[in-house]
Symmetry: C2
Subunit: 354 residues, 2 copies
């Protein structure tokens, strides 16, 4: 297996480690920017790496439909295709077959659905998910799983968990040699069921486990992905994260800063000569682009605003991970997290710098 | 005056020179990328400079309406606001008052119109154009001019020319100290009238003359802005160009290359592993991003495609200018232009590299 994990230190449940891949080392805890269609929206590969990120997660469903896994394989796999020399994970495609595709039917065999692009009837089985991800060539693939709605009743959650386990075994049997495979823990927001499922999957020869089925119908206050959420999850022992929040919120004009959130279109930034965050090392903050300029670009519909906010947010997420790792190595994670949480929580959508 | 022109060499009518500004030297012939709203669409200032460009032209009408010239002045003028350390020109705003604004009325005093953003009634006089451009702080301002429709009858063209001359005098009287001012030659596609107007304006104490009133209703085959057009215009003695073509066409998926045009969404590029142009020094071509990847990004609606194509096209325009300048200095412009024109003209929308 070309991917393995080494644990460097623990602090409470929080862990510092490294994921070793044939595309380099990923210090953990780590945040994976989402390169849905083999591109982190608005950013170049060089910029994504410049934020500090060392692993991207890309989307099997989207890349299967377009440009197609055979084509990606011909063009050097995702690493060559997207010119991303660092590690890559791909998701299983199950979430999009469930949420984005049309006329989806699920059976024990897999998903049948119509492509949201051209209506073409497609079938995604555990074996097909392995074949597609093998062609895409990520360092880490994910098993096909059943996402149940976060509000589902217990019998539905249990059925999803059990089918996910059966599909786990089928995926392991079809695993691409040399590619790591993660199992996916389901169970909705039912903690007991989640724990049981994690224990079940931990018995199987996966190289790692992922927590699936979030952001599927829960109320917004239960959706995860803010810096605060990540701090809490690291404290619970999670090593690796992905979420569209830093890049999607950026495109909606929201910046995360070490001093609270900045909603850039707010009139208060019209004349603000400060960079987004004087404490930030992203290229926009370092170059001194003012909030007033970013606001102007955003309001005027200029792409450059989306780029700068995206790069900025990913830079903050990567730095948060580095600082968390340092705190774990120093054995002071609980203090670190409490301090950071106090700052993030006390400064919602405000900026008290001036 | 902080801007002056030095002539280095001539070759036929073609000229090689330098525009010396307090924001650096601009070797000519030069192409100015268009930063309409204080941003060259999709690109950062650093990337624009990386293409080789040393002067941008920005848009008085747009920046007047949003974010407003007083605000730009407060934030360091356009150079500080947009973090562009090189030279900047601003246009007069007349073209947009004529083409983009609503319910425009022109009188001897100036334009009255409704903002296309919020319907607010605005008035742009020669004196106001000077005041706004003075606040924006470009190195070179343009006089307010009257753009007549390219298809207009002679009496209308003559009236536009004569009013433009009267406005030229008013602009000169209101010129901002330290800011260069260019007159604008009108006359539609009537060569005789253009020549007369150029001679008239050349008698006035302008620091340069611009050719205005193109792309106002002529048939597409008479619109200018392709590499071929620029080669011909340089041969006729033009020093400085601006056009949205390289960036707008990029956003529509068209790349200019040294081997012909590439319409990136064409199916022929689906599996093409070559960069856009192996002879190009832009960052996308140097990094080896394939046409297949660019096509995928473009078809998938990813911003990165627009960025890479924009940077690529501007890189070609800047290199064309550098090569033209070298040919003028070598005294071989006619041969150079003929050779380049043959290549550009024989390879329309095709790519014979493979």
């Amino acid at each position: 297996m070309t991917v393995r994990y080494e644990l460097d230190a623990s602090s409470g449940h929080a862990r510092a480690g490294r994921i070793l891949t044939s595309h380099g080392e990923v210090p953990t805890p780590a945040f994976m920017p989402v390169g849905t269609q083999a591109s982190v929206k608005a950013l170049s590969s060089e910029e994504v790496a410049g934020t500090g990120a060392r692993m991207q997660i890309m989307n099997t469903y989207h890349l299967w439909l377009r440009p197609g896994p055979e084509r990606v394989a011909e063009l050097g796999g995702l690493h060559g295709f997207a010119r991303w020399p660092h590690a890559i994970a791909t998701d299983s495609g199950g979430f999009q077959a469930f949420s984005l595709a049309e006329r989806t039917k699920m059976s024990e065999d897999g998903f049948e659905f119509s492509s949201h692009l051209d209506g073409k009837r497609m079938k995604l089985t555990p074996e097909e998910a392995m074949r597609i991800q093998g062609l895409l060539g990520a360092d880490i693939a994910m098993q096909l799983d059943v996402c149940s709605n976060g509000n589902a009743a217990l019998p539905e959650l249990v059925a999803a968990v059990e089918r996910t386990t059966r599909w786990a075994e089928r995926c392991l049997a079809a695993q691409t040699p040399g590619q790591a495979l993660f199992g996916i823990v389901q169970g909705g927001t039912n903690v007991e069921l989640r724990l049981q499922h994690a224990e079940t999957l931990a018995q199987l020869p996966f190289q790692g486990l992922a927590l699936g089925g979030f952001s599927v119908g829960e109320p917004p206050e239960l959706m995860l992905g803010t810096p605060e959420d990540l701090l809490i999850a690291i404290g619970a022992g999670v090593d690796l994260f992905d979420c569209v929040m830093p890049t999607r919120n950026a495109r909606n004009g929201q910046a995360f800063t070490w001093h609270g959130k900045v909603t850039i279109k707010n009139a208060r930034y019209k004349d603000d000569p400060l960079p987004l965050d004087p404490d930030c090392g992203c290229s926009a903050c370092r170059a001194g682009y003012s909030r007033a300029y970013l606001r102007h670009l955003f309001v005027a519909g200029e792409i450059l605003a989306l780029r700068m906010l995206s790069e900025h947010n990913l830079t903050l997420y990567a730095r948060l991970m580095r600082e968390a790792r340092a705190a774990v190595l120093a054995g002071t994670y609980a203090d670190f997290a409490a301090e950071r949480l106090a700052v993030f929580r006390n400064l919602p959508d405000t900026n008290e710098l001036r």
